[in-house]
Symmetry: C2
Subunit: 231 residues, 2 copies
DNA sequence: CGTTGGTTTGATGGAGATCAAGCCTCGTGG
DNA sequence: CCACGAGGCTTGATCTCCATCAAACCAACG
């Protein structure tokens, strides 16, 4: 666990994260409340049930937000991409696990202090509101993806979503990218079994929609077909 | 469609909705930007794809937020209870349908004007942020409810959630309440077929967990069992 | 009345979970 | 350097749960 003073100057998300809404001075003030932390793939940032809550902005890498039910099955509730914000500011205890799915770097703040900053800087509140609306939208897309759809639709839809997330231009998907998630994670996210996810990848490859390149690499050989299969 | 000037004075959610964070004067100013509207069960408040977006606070009744996919199947993404807020302020077009599932009353604002109000009144931004966090949490609970669970778990979990929502005390469920949704709506929400939902209700009644009283009424005869079945 | 929309119940088939092996791909240590 | 495991991934066989089709039922309402 590496900790550092914040160095906003060369932060890769300095003009996309919530804090980008602040002036230089305000940002400096905010930066003194938190610290940076490096996470290796698999490291836990927040644990469900923790008393002292915190929140964080993701600088690089990727996080998953998940809950584990009684019988130990993990359900992924959300993926967080760089510039994303995690943490439950208004809740005394945290409800979900937040774990790095890739080597990552985050900017961590104690919840109470961040809350005070939100009260102090209206622009920060508005930026978070906007981000929160996006999260809510993403969350609803996931609900859409999971409910009453066949396995092939879910997997195809998921691959498209990841391709869009991987691409720089928001609208057109990347032709070639690395999946941040393991098969098990994808299964947990889509509400399928690992085997079914694997079989759908096989089928998509056989149908010529994608090509698997290594364990994690995906090439979209026929995005239109993929789109159609996601229906 | 009935329209009225806003009358905050005797509004039933005047101290729970987002606008409750405002002072009397501020609230008066905000109220001049919007108007009230009555909705009958089944009336549409916002339609997906509408150009001029608006947002609204629910005063009484219940709304559903849903999307309809290509083949006409409706997926319910969220239920909105009184004091809840709906609308996509930051998006040029609305993505989802918002429909009343019970006779309702709302306070409607044009999105651009409301956005200006948010910028003008920092307290409003913070209140919305809090509400948005709650929505996000509810949305994630729904994801949890839908993913990789059996039909009986989903229905039992849903009934418990509705019982909690119907109860005044947030923690303990109401023993007797009316479901706001039809079987079809529940099916759309849980990702099941109408028939399966009906069968699960039948099974829960046979097992002694609930009793159906009329088409919509539910009595929890054995909440512990229900809890266990929801696992 | 008949009609209409929601609900229940039954019978059947199929999609996907589960169980069970094999199979790559690393990383570790002999 | 190769052997050896340990995870993660793939593939196959079987079985279960739920969607689908179909029909009866019920209440509200014109």
């Amino acid at each position: 666990m590496a900790r550092d003073a914040l160095a906003c100057a060369e932060c890769p998300v300095r003009d996309r994260a919530a804090c980008s809404a602040l002036t230089g001075d305000e940002r400096g003030e905010l930066s003194r409340l938190g610290h940076r932390r490096l996470l290796k793939r698999g490291d836990t940032l927040f644990r469900a049930g923790e008393q002292e809550t915190a929140c964080a902005t993701l600088i690089r890498g990727a996080l998953k937000i998940s809950s584990v039910d009684a019988d130990g099955v993990e359900r992924i509730l959300s993926l967080v991409h760089p510039a994303g914000f995690v943490g439950e500011m208004f809740s005394p205890v945290s409800h979900h696990e937040v774990v790095a799915v890739a080597d990552s770097e985050v900017c961590v703040f104690p919840a109470d202090r961040y809350e005070r900053a939100v009260a102090q800087f209206p622009a920060l509140a508005r930026a978070l509101l906007r981000r929160s609306a996006e999260d809510l939208f993403a969350s609803r897309c996931l609900i859409n993806l999971m409910g009453r759809r066949t396995a092939i639709q879910r997997v195809a839809g998921f691959i498209l979503a990841m391709a869009n997330a991987a691409s720089s231009s928001p609208c057109h998907p990347a032709a070639r990218f690395e999946l941040p998630l393991s098969r098990g994670d994808m299964a947990g996210m889509l509400g399928l079994s690992i085997e079914t996810v694997s079989r759908q990848f096989g089928r998509l490859e056989k149908d010529g929609a994608i090509r698997r390149e290594g364990a994690r690499g995906i090439r979209l050989t026929n995005p239109a077909l993929l789109q159609r299969l996601a229906s």
